[in-house]
């Protein structure tokens, strides 16, 4: 699998994602600077976490209009799988590739902790290696992860099976208020597009990519993409 990680000024999880992709794919990863106007020929594109453009105006708003994003949007529309993690999810929402927006955490606090996610869908490019309904431990680290969309959009996402990850209580498996780190509507942690090839999530799978990091629960996000590309 050939992959690219987009690097914006202020990205800070780009190298973690690179390490994860290299380990899973066994080959190099293209690191593509935001000012570039062309993408290398790749099978998967990842928008990493961080604070692109200092979160000026709104999180992800400036990055969504950068040179390279024109290419990313064109490739995504043509079917290239795109994964947006944390700030990458915010960027995907700002481009309109995914619906809704990530607002300031309801607590107004930056939240950095493990969260437990129910894998609601295993029919996306980035979740096919998980078991449906499985609960995984993947950490969050964000100040703006409070997913918001209007009621009609939320109903459409649910109806189309596009809520991919939900914050849940690990014991009961239920989407409780306590399990929700940011006030996200319906405990939504991640969603996908209609074709299930674009996935955005607030938690960081690359941070739980290996047991030495506390858990390897996030590894299968990248392995899923490998499988999907090979299939």
């Amino acid at each position: 699998m050939r992959s690219a990680v987009i690097v914006f000024p202020g990205s800070n999880c780009d190298r973690d994602v690179k390490v994860a992709l290299e380990a899973v794919t066994g080959r190099g990863v293209h690191m593509v600077w935001h000012g570039e106007t062309a993408l290398p020929d790749v099978d998967v594109i990842v928008l990493p976490g961080g604070f692109s453009y200092g979160d000026y105006l709104r999180c992800g708003a400036m990055a969504a209009h950068s040179n390279i994003m024109r290419e990313v949007i064109a490739k995504a529309k043509a079917g290239t799988p795109v994964l947006g993690i944390c700030n990458g999810f915010q960027v995907l929402c700002e481009t309109g590739l995914l619906p809704g927006v990530l607002q300031r955490n309801a607590s107004l606090r930056f939240v950095c902790r493990d969260t437990f996610l129910k894998v609601e869908r295993t029919d996306t490019v980035f979740t096919r290696s998980y078991n449906a309904g499985e609960i995984v431990n993947i950490p969050v680290a964000h100040g703006d992860g409070n997913y918001f969309a209007d009621g009609a959009t939320l109903d459409r996402l649910e109806g189309e099976g596009r809520v991919v990850f939900r914050y849940v209580d690990p014991a009961s498996g239920l989407p409780t208020a306590e399990a929700n780190p940011n006030g996200a509507q319906r405990n939504i942690a991640g969603i996908c597009d209609e074709r299930r090839r674009i996935v955005g999530l607030m938690p960081h799978p690359e941070r739980h990519f290996d047991k030495i990091l506390g858990s390897a629960d996030g590894r299968r996000v990248f392995e899923s993409a490998m499988q999907a590309v090979a299939a």
């Binding site: 929402c93 607002q103 107004l108």
Partner: protein, 102 residues
Amino acid sequence: MPRGIQVGAASHIHASTNSRAVMKARIKITLKTGVLDPQGKAIQNALGSLGFSGVEEVRQGKYIEVDLKETDAAKAKAEVERMCRELLANLVIENYSYELGA
């Protein structure tokens, strides 16, 4: 939120012989009704703790000034509309309004 446009100052600009005259767009970005505003809530609580007891609600937003080279009010308006829609406001959660003037 009504989208106001005030072009009262535009005639002044047309009359001016100064080709560097600019038009200023004063843009307000506000959260849509029903969208949670935790920052507004925190400001409200802070006002309460300062002894302002009559505060019913606080909603916060953004104010942006853009100086335009354009002197034609209609063109400037179209330009500012596009700026708001494409970048300055996120229409999922925000409304915008603006005034054009000198």
